[in-house]
């Protein structure tokens, strides 16, 4: 009886740290959203409104900036270019990495460790360091101003990390399964294609989601390899748009927030895969 009466008071005291916890976390949530919300607020105002009251709620919302951008061909062209590069890079990365990861995880042969270690050294040479040497190579190959150049470079620089992630997943698949399949007359390719890949679907999804984000957001490779305006990807086009229309802040912010939208939608749906890929990649890498 007594314990029942004391219970509520104890809970109330116990809840104070919880409240502080939520207060701090909510504050951080606000900090995360401020830059994004300010973009959208400004985009939903006319140029004049944005000058006179930049910080108020956009009431009534003015959709003109968004309509302007969506009714011009540029945005759609960049969206298409980004989608194309992303789709090709992701397909390439998943395919090439799962083949190599399979060999490193499940086959035994001489100099396997050496080859794998060489591959992991690629992590020391990320694209931010390699961009100039890679640009000179692409120039020699006559591939500037082509999607192929961008796709090949993005794929190559995604290899090391993703092979490591997939190898980790492939290693965790029980050996008995493989032995049984060989006894049944499967070739290594059969085992890979018909047994391993279907089991590893979640891992492949994680690698694909991660690669999609990286490719979609990449500025540096298109910036250096692409000149032609019709080939600009969304990040490159966004940067150029900001440079060109910088005076019309509302219009720029409308463009920027529109180009963020696909990422945010994708993130909401693929959060689990992205997080899984990220965590595995960091721990393995």
């Amino acid at each position: 009886m007594t314990s029942l009466m004391i219970q509520p008071r104890r809970n109330w005291k116990k809840n104070i740290p919880r409240l502080i916890q939520y207060a701090v976390l909510t504050l951080i949530v606000i900090v995360v959203f401020v830059p994004i919300v300010m973009l959208v607020f400004s985009a939903l105002k006319t140029r004049g409104e944005a000058m006179t009251n930049p910080y108020t709620l956009p009431i009534p919302p003015r959709w003109d900036n968004y309509i302007n951008i969506l009714s011009a061909p540029n945005f759609w062209m960049m969206l298409r270019n980004s989608l194309l590069v992303m789709a090709a890079t992701t397909t390439g990365v998943v395919l090439v990495c799962s083949l190599a990861a399979f060999v490193f995880a499940r086959m035994r042969f001489r100099s396997k460790d050496l080859l794998f270690n060489i591959l992991t050294l690629g992590l020391m040479f990320p694209i931010n360091i390699g961009i100039l040497p890679v640009y000179l190579l692409i120039r020699d190959l006559h591939l500037p101003d082509t999607f192929l150049g961008v796709i090949l470079v993005q794929t190559a620089f995604a290899l090391s990390g993703n092979i490591m992630i997939l190898r980790g997943f492939f290693l965790s698949i029980p050996m008995e399964l493989e032995d049984a399949s060989y006894i049944d007359g499967c070739t290594p390719f059969d085992f890979f294609w018909r047994i391993l890949l279907p089991i590893a679907k979640p891992a492949l999804a994680a690698v694909a989601a991660l690669t999609m984000i990286v490719s979609w957001n990449d500025l540096l490779v298109p910036l250096v390899l692409i000149n032609k305006e019709t080939l600009w990807t969304l990040p490159l086009g966004t940067m150029q748009f900001q440079g060109q229309y910088g005076m019309d802040v509302s219009l720029v912010n409308a463009f920027v927030s529109l180009s963020a939208l696909p990422t945010i939608i994708f993130y909401i749906f693929a959060e689990r895969q992205i997080v899984a890929g990220m965590t595995a990649g960091a721990v393995k890498g």
């Binding site: 995360v32 083949l99 399979f102 040497p133 640009y135 049984a180 018909r194 180009s259 721990v283």
Partner: protein, 315 residues
């Protein structure tokens, strides 16, 4: 699920001679590795060697490199005050990341913990900045940092205090690095928090319960149980944070172009300036080699020191 093992009766065992099986295996290994290694050799290994070669030339982009100058590019890089500034800025970003960003991420991860109601939503929101592109991040923050209080939110808030002058966040040589660091923290704290959250998942509940029964309070729990058991995650985070800090490019380039007067120059913007603005390919290649060596020396040194299983792959 039906596996090959279950359906053993249905699949006809092939009576392949041993040799064919061996050939088959080797062929698989070869064919499966060819795409990865072809790309790797062509786009990663070959450019490294090629840029070592270019780095010995004074080559300003016209024709082929012919003007061999030995190690002069490297001497010039190391003597250049601007490059020294870029290195110092890199070290500053590392220091601030390790001193502020990681502790912040760790505290948030501990707060979100394993069982806080709403955990999944907090995790999702905190990781959002990492997913948004650097271009968008840069432009959004340039808006907040606008020096004009009628346009930039930060100065609007700051000038509410009577007598306070607006700050040129990105235009003041003394303020620009801290201002950039705030953006870096906004973008990357979620990544580290995510890693710490994954690490926390790995700590068995029983250990914490046992400590609690023994009378440990919240802080003691964190100090003596949580932190030591997060050791390997913290080391991973430090490693990624240092390498990431040394390689920053897009955010800095869009927001300040390394300015004002080189105050926010970092190694990658320095390389970009010489390589792609001035077309000094020989000199730029030498900068790339220096950056590669810095990353390599740090990685090898760090991995030697901490030597532990979760870094095996990179060793």
């Amino acid at each position: 699920m039906e596996t090959a093992a279950d359906s053993g009766v249905a699949v006809k065992p092939r009576k392949a001679p041993l040799l064919t099986q061996k050939v088959q295996k080797n062929l698989t290994i070869f064919l499966f590795l060819v795409p990865a290694f072809a790309l790797f050799l062509l786009f990663i290994v070959y450019p490294i060697f090629k840029s070592v070669y270019y780095s010995f030339f004074s080559w300003k982009g016209f024709g082929d490199p012919t003007d061999f100058i030995g190690l002069e590019n490297f001497q010039q890089i190391l003597k250049d005050k601007i490059f020294q500034k870029a290195v110092l800025n890199g070290l500053l970003i590392i220091a601030l990341s390790l001193g502020i960003q990681l502790p912040l991420s760790l505290s948030l991860a501990i707060m979100v913990g394993r069982d806080l109601p709403g955990r999944a939503i907090f995790r999702m929101i905190f990781f959002l900045p990492y997913v948004i592109s650097e271009v968008i991040t840069a432009i959004a923050w340039m808006g907040l940092y606008n020096p004009d209080p009628t346009r930039g939110l930060f100065n609007a808030i700051l000038t509410l205090i009577p007598g306070v002058e607006p700050v040129a966040w990105l235009g003041d040589m003394k303020v620009v690095m801290p201002a950039l660091f705030v953006v870096l923290t906004w973008k990357f704290f979620g990544l580290h928090m995510l890693l710490f959250l994954a690490g926390l998942q790995g700590i068995p509940m029983e250990v914490e319960e046992a400590a609690r029964i023994d009378g440990a309070n919240g802080l003691q729990l964190i100090r003596f149980i949580t932190l030591p058991m997060l050791g390997s995650t913290i080391r991973t985070s430090v490693y990624l944070s240092v390498l990431g800090s040394l390689q920053q490019f897009v955010l800095v380039w869009i927001m300040t172009k390394g300015g004002p007067v080189n105050a926010s120059e970092v190694m990658a913007t320095y390389m970009y300036r010489f390589g792609f603005v001035r077309f000094w390919y020989g000199y730029g290649s030498a900068v790339a080699i220096v950056m590669l060596l810095v990353s390599l020396v740090f990685s090898i040194g760090y991995l030697r020191i901490i030597r532990q299983p979760d870094f095996q792959g990179a060793e």
